[in-house]
């Protein structure tokens, strides 16, 4: 079949033009600047600019929000994955599919749906209002419920991230736990382990590969998003993604935008390297 090698050449050319060259351009713009006389000079100015507290804070905020939403996804998703993999439900595949379906709806429409819920005159507040009125007419009671006013705050952004990425946490954990060897659990129980011990010593360690790929699959998109923060955080809300977008579409500072992209890329590579160090011996367990 050696004569088929040439079939890869069109893609090789495509790769060079559309993958390698564009990344080189990002690198090029990040380390150069236009001198006043129009010539292009090498500089690290763009990276230095990033050390201003204003920009460092954006980075810290992006990482923090991503960490918060990853932790919340883990806390919510882990028990769910365990329950789904357990014996409670007969038609598991339908339930797992139910957990997946929201992911298939357009990502922007999903985020938009939270805008309608959280708005000042949104569904949640209207629901509270209705409850108050019902209490007043039928129970003669002065009921004052708090109003939700979190649209365009950090909380709304975290909520949006958790809502959008929760399935990415549930699925890998579920797929690992549901393939667990039942006899291991039974053996642990036979040897006198109570439920807590069995969980701590058998189920949890064996589910770790799923947890790790879940964390990766939530953290990565959360730290690079700029849509969720734009819609739920409001126009002034800055995550590193928004900062990059701004450099290209508003301030036209391509050098700084490219430098920020390089920094984001390093951040992703760093966290991936960090995760794979822990994943070494527990290979597999991903979604694919």
């Amino acid at each position: 079949m050696k004569q088929y090698r040439w079939l890869a050449y069109p893609y090789a050319v495509w790769m060079i033009i559309f993958i390698v060259v564009p990344l080189m351009l990002v690198l090029f713009f990040s380390v150069t600047a236009k001198a006043p006389d129009g010539s292009i000079v090498l500089t690290l100015e763009n990276f230095k600019k990033f050390w201003e507290p204003m920009y460092i804070n954006v980075l810290i905020r992006s990482v923090l929000l991503a960490v918060y939403s990853t932790v919340i996804c883990l806390v919510l998703g882990y028990p769910l994955a365990l329950i789904l993999a357990g014996r409670d439900f007969k038609r598991k595949n339908i339930l797992v599919m139910l957990a997946v379906i929201p992911m298939w709806m357009n990502f922007l429409l999903r985020t938009y749906s939270w805008m309608t819920l959280l708005e000042k005159n949104g569904t949640i507040n209207a629901f509270f209002g209705t409850l108050e009125r019902l209490a007043a007419t039928y129970l003669n009671m002065e009921l004052t419920l708090p109003r939700v006013n979190i649209l365009y705050t950090e909380t709304a952004v975290i909520l949006g991230m958790v809502y959008n990425f929760l399935p990415f946490m549930i699925l890998p954990i579920y797929s690992v736990v549901s393939k667990l060897d039942r006899s291991l659990i039974e053996a642990a129980q036979d040897l006198g382990g109570n439920n807590l011990v069995v969980f701590k010593r058998v189920i949890f360690p064996l589910s770790l590969p799923g947890v790790l790929s879940g964390i990766t699959m939530v953290f990565m998109p959360a730290v690079t998003t700029f849509v969720i923060s734009r819609l739920l955080g409001g126009a002034q809300f800055m995550l590193i993604g928004n900062l990059i977008e701004r450099q290209f579409l508003f301030s036209n500072d391509w050098g700084f935008g490219s430098a920020l992209s390089i920094i984001m890329l390093l951040l992703i590579l760093l966290s991936m390297g960090f995760m794979s160090r822990y994943e070494k011996e527990n290979s597999g367990g991903g979604l694919w």
Partner: protein, 278 residues
């Protein structure tokens, strides 16, 4: 305990579905405001279909998704066969570069392509959007065809040649049928990714050409619009129908293939490809 577990599952699913259900309900609400139900109407659906901007972007989305995934499937399948037959070092290099768009954050892929298009003075629009979509689709096609090539018995092709088939005939009758499932998976993956993409499209389009995601974003930023509720409802129902059909078909296939007495039937969950569209 069992009750607790079941209610926990119920609560999480409520969290996942409540926003969607509320969107669906309010798409039939006569009043524009969120909180109050003032009667049933189909007005928003009528307005949705009359909206030129949304209909144009729907057309762009479908055209781009079909074209991009078709081109990506052809180029990607050919590339997989070529890469598979390359020497080790070259193969590794190709596969590693192929991985870059998969691992790269979308925003970086988007701006890198934007820099390319503006450096070669290609005006942003339909063509640049199509090129960008083909670029992020091919890697997924390669990744789904490659495993099929590895599973294939190499001697089948040689046997066909020995029996007098021309290389092209052997390719058509032996290799292609073997890798077809991977090709179809790759095509479908490319289609969904392309259909849903926002970030890369956002940076690589211009001159008034926009796809559905971009239009939704710009409408959503201007505030609540009942037309978007109607659009969400239609999209949700179509996704649901599609998934049900795919699942019924695949589980039928599996049931036919599996011996009847096998009990450990695990169902077939059509899992979303990746976090790519974010």
């Amino acid at each position: 305990m069992r009750f607790l577990r079941r209610s926990y599952v119920f609560l999480v699913f409520l969290f996942l579905y409540a926003p969607i259900i509320i969107l669906i309900v309010y798409s039939f609400n006569a009043s524009k405001s969120r909180g109050h139900w003032t009667g049933f109407t189909l007005q928003w659906y009528r307005e949705l279909f009359k909206d030129r901007q949304i209909m144009n972007s729907l057309y762009n989305t479908i055209a781009i998704a079909l074209l991009a995934s078709l081109i990506a499937t052809i180029v990607g399948t050919a590339a997989s066969i070529g890469i598979f037959n390359m020497k080790r070092v070259k193969r590794e290099i190709m596969l590693n570069i192929n991985y870059i768009p998969v691992l790269n954050p979308d925003i970086v892929t988007g701006i890198s392509l934007m820099l390319l298009f503006s450096s070669i003075k290609l005006p942003l629009g339909f063509t640049s959007l199509l090129l960008a979509h083909v670029t992020f689709n091919i890697p997924y096609v390669v990744l789904s065809v490659m495993p099929k090539l590895k599973q294939m018995n190499k001697h089948l092709y040689e046997a066909a040649l020995d029996l007098g088939a021309t290389p092209f005939y052997a390719f058509k009758k032996v290799i292609l049928p073997e890798i077809m499932p991977g090709v179809i998976t790759g095509f479908l993956l490319a289609l969904t990714l392309s259909f849903d993409d926002f970030v890369i499209s956002f940076f690589t389009t211009g001159n008034g050409v926009s796809n559905l995601s971009i239009t939704v974003e710009s409408l959503a930023r201007r505030g609540i619009s009942p037309k978007l509720n109607a659009l969400s409802t239609i999209m949700f129902v179509s996704v649901l129908l599609l998934l049900i059909i795919v699942n019924i078909r695949t589980s039928k296939d599996e049931n036919e293939r599996r011996p009847k007495n096998e009990k450990s039937y695990q169902g077939n969950v059509f899992v979303s490809p990746s976090s790519h569209d974010i």
